[in-house]
């Protein structure tokens, strides 16, 4: 990317950041929702694990670390503003970008990055408070190779989810009703479970895990956290990272093609 191009998208992120602070109430509510959900799941698993120190092949500290870890990875992977693209496609505000020398994908990616940063900051703050309050046993990964793999997997999950989510947004070209929310909501609900947001996926019956674990959704939360917990061996880690890279290429291609196709039928509504 050229320097001027970088400046362009840096400015987008900066403007988005200042816009984010304007929606203070909205943001705070969103964070509160996250924390309440996290605490609910935490206590559920705390109750389960206090009866049996190991369950489903997880130690208490592993399970609780997984649950608390989802909060930070969730902020990194799922934190986004780019769902607003749906509204723009549906209302015709997409026009504003199509007439400018700017890539719609990079525009939203920049805004997402800004949003993720804000969310991660808050998430880390929340977790710190929870750690002081609940004082749970925490699993600390010390192997540098695992830590680097965990970081890499988290970043790949973030990029992968961006293209996946954008692909969902693109359906609004064909189903513009309700700003594309019916299809988005459907995905949200499924994803919560399929990505490992409620519990690690490998506690499921092996037959079910064999399927769910292979779906792209498993890479969003489950895989990075499994790597952190040291539950994958090196060959599994390498395979996972390659699969994520593969999915990024596929999803990116699909999102791009769908966008171009969508533009051809785009009515540039609004009158």
């Amino acid at each position: 990317m050229r320097i001027s191009s970088f400046k362009k998208y840096f400015q987008v992120a900066k403007t988005s950041w200042s816009g984010g602070f304007v929606y203070r109430l909205n943001f705070v509510m969103w964070r509160v929702r996250n924390v309440v959900q996290l605490i609910a799941i935490y206590f559920l698993w705390f109750a389960v694990m206090s009866r049996n120190p190991t369950a489903f092949n997880y130690s208490t500290s592993q399970m609780l670390t997984y649950i608390l870890g989802t909060s930070i990875i969730r902020a990194l992977v799922f934190g986004q503003r780019s769902i607003d693209a749906q509204g723009e496609i549906s209302s015709g505000d997409l026009n504003n970008y199509l007439v400018k020398p700017i890539s719609y994908f990079r525009y939203w990616f920049s805004r997402d990055i800004a949003d993720k940063l804000l969310n991660i900051l808050f998430s880390i703050g929340e977790i710190t408070i929870l750690l002081f309050w609940l004082r749970p046993e925490i699993y600390l990964q010390t192997n540098p190779l695992m830590l680097v793999s965990f970081l890499l997997a988290s970043l790949l999950a973030m990029v992968m989810y961006f293209y996946f989510s954008f692909l969902i947004s693109m359906t609004t070209f064909w189903i513009p009703e309700e700003n594309g929310w019916p299809q988005r909501f459907f995905i949200f609900v499924i994803l919560e479970f399929f990505s490992g947001g409620l519990f690690p996926l490998d506690i499921l019956p092996p037959a079910v895990y064999a399927v769910l674990g292979k779906l792209p959704s498993a890479y969003f939360l489950n895989t990075p956290l499994q790597i952190y917990l040291g539950r994958l061996d090196l060959s599994q880690i390498v395979t996972s990272l390659f699969m994520m890279a593969f999915w990024i290429v596929v999803l990116r291609l699909l999102a791009n093609r769908t966008f171009r196709k969508g533009l051809k039928i785009y009515g540039a509504y609004g009158r």
């Binding site: 362009k8 200042s18 026009n95 400018k100 020398p101 700017i102 785009y266 609004g270």
Partner: protein
Amino acid sequence: MKDMSVISVRHLKKYYRVHEKEPGLKGSIRSLFTRKYTQVKAVDNIDFTIEEGELVGFIGPNGAGKTTTLKVLSGLLYPTSGEVSVLGFNPWDRKAQFQKQFALVMGQKNQLWWDLPPMETFILNKEIYEVPEDQFKKTLDKLIELLDVKDILKIQVRKLSLGQRMKCELIAALLHNPKVLFLDEPTIGLDVVMQKVMRDFVKQYNRQFKSTIILTSHYMGDVKELCERVIIIDKGKILFDGKLQNVIDRFARNKIITVVFSRDIDQRKLAEFGNIREYQFPRAKINVPRKDVAKLSAKLLSDFPVADLVIEEAPIEAIIREVFTGKMKQTNA
């Protein structure tokens, strides 16, 4: 042969497919399974060219195809068929080189960030269009002065009035000094004072920057004051393309004679001259055929006690209205 026009449109067609839904729940359920589509000819085979520095008015009723044409010229819509070239580019390719040279302003849409002060959008656009710092400052200062918006730059856009917002929309669109400007209903919803400010600005901008401008408007005032050339469009077809004065010459059948009498007169006798639009002693307004206007006014002067007499064109609004309602077809032929 190379086309030297800034904008050239040949045999442009844009057809939409829209689905029809029967009213009510039954219709909704039925439309889930079978959808009936109809074709809408938004733009139906139009041709025109526009030269550098021209300020052209696009007029036509709602749904005539004005906005669709502008959207095709901006690269927002993919034409069904035909050729379009703007500054030598095919708009649909949406090349950055092209996009840096034009701007589209829609009176009913906004590009300003709703929750931030307008200045934030200006700075963002500076980076998007890669405008050098010194040029940005110079252009911005000039636009701020021309539109008198110095005091509102740091106020959230959502708190601005429609007029203030429209001014800022214009600034946001012009910061990169576009050579071609498409203005879609820029004065819609504005009060008369603000309409005048906008018109004056567009006129001045066109003159100072030699930019090529297409303006669509419902308000004839905009077009009358700004555009020498108009393109009248209805149901996707061009009805007229030429000087505004020629619209009047070609389409206006009547002129209006206003007479002030010094004594009361016999109205029946006056009716022989033409269609009396209003009569309230001492003033009468009569529609008379254009070709007879000299003869009839001479006769008026000799037959009646006339204190004053004025001959005027019918208002342009009325002429255009007649063009659209098709009353003029015979005279047009």
